[in-house]
Subunit: 202 residues, 2 copies
């Protein structure tokens, strides 16, 4: 690693290099880039990062990111409050929203049960979920969790917790991705797509 | 591009995506990473960037980055003040320092003459160079500029400017890189390495 004489530059490189996928060399390249730009560029970047992290709130209801107490989805009267989609993190909310196919509300767990990483059910945002379901007369809960052991464990844990509430509990369809060749689809996915086949419609 | 509901997150993504090599997707990934970390991580990162750019100074003598008025090289009494190495930017100072082979001082131009980009001699840090040479009794100036048309133009411009001062004006040796096969060396480099051959010594 190149020796950097300026403490200011060294500190900035060190902090940037903590980001995932950014090593010391890339961090130095970014800092040298910032040094060639106006002071404003760096001030705006730095302040945006600090302000984002210090002022961000998480929706009291669904734990999605929010600029206020509630997120833009929970406060939208157009959304269908009788359906809740359970996801691992806020990125999942973004990608599902991006499909434009879901009009219900979300519930962000903020992680999944993973004994290997020491994450148990108590670490997830699950405290208010039963209350949410009962109070809002929720009819369906959709699991949109990863298809890993951890994801399945989490789905099963929540399933057992919610079973007494007499709801429809569904999960995302798994199958051959659109545009994918059958030849290159793994056998578990292909098998599941056969078992869960749907009526052909035009 | 994914639609981001939070203005705070959107602003941070937008600022990060202005950095070279970081697109909107990577910027979002970095922001989501920061959201999973302590508030301190983001505060330290943001403040390091702002502080670096607002507090950094450039050495009055050689225009290298400095935490004070003069850089750590110009203020080091161990350095040989009779030799000045002329480089394009502060990164070049770092890489030359990293070789441990140079004990003189530097002069950072902050760019090279490039009519295509509208950069003329007046945009470079050249105002004080003759004064520096005369006042400090400099004996040798080394050009360490890129081997491009722009680099050669800049070297030639400075050469003409310094010629009356009766100095040794040298330039970096160009030749086959250590470890490189002759087979894969471009012909201009190989030709130059023949013309500038040196006495073999063991």
């Amino acid at each position: 690693m190149i020796n950097i004489s300026s403490k200011l530059v060294r500190d900035a490189v060190q902090e940037l290099a903590k980001l995932p996928g950014i090593g010391a060399k890339t961090a130095l390249r970014l800092v040298l880039h910032l040094l060639r730009q106006d002071v404003d560029t760096s001030v705006m970047l730095g302040n945006a990062i600090v302000s984002m992290r210090t002022n961000i709130k998480f929706c009291i209801k669904c734990h999605n990111i929010a600029d206020g107490d509630y997120c833009h989805i929970c406060t939208n009267p157009q959304r269908d409050g009788s359906t809740i989609c359970i996801v691992e993190n806020i990125k999942d909310v973004m990608v599902i929203e991006n499909t434009g196919q879901f009009k219900g509300l979300y519930h962000v767990l903020g992680g999944i049960i993973s004994p290997m990483d020491g994450i148990g059910p108590s670490h997830l945002n699950l405290d208010n979920i039963e209350k949410r379901i009962v109070e809002n007369n929720v009819k369906e809960v959709i699991f949109a969790l990863p298809t890993t052991i951890e994801g399945d464990t989490t789905s099963f844990y929540i399933f057992k917790k919610l079973k007494p509430l007499n709801l429809n509990i569904t999960t995302l369809a798994r199958g051959v991705a659109i545009g994918d060749d059958l030849e290159y689809t793994d056998e578990i996915t292909l098998g599941r797509s056969l078992v869960n086949r749907v009526m052909y419609s035009v």
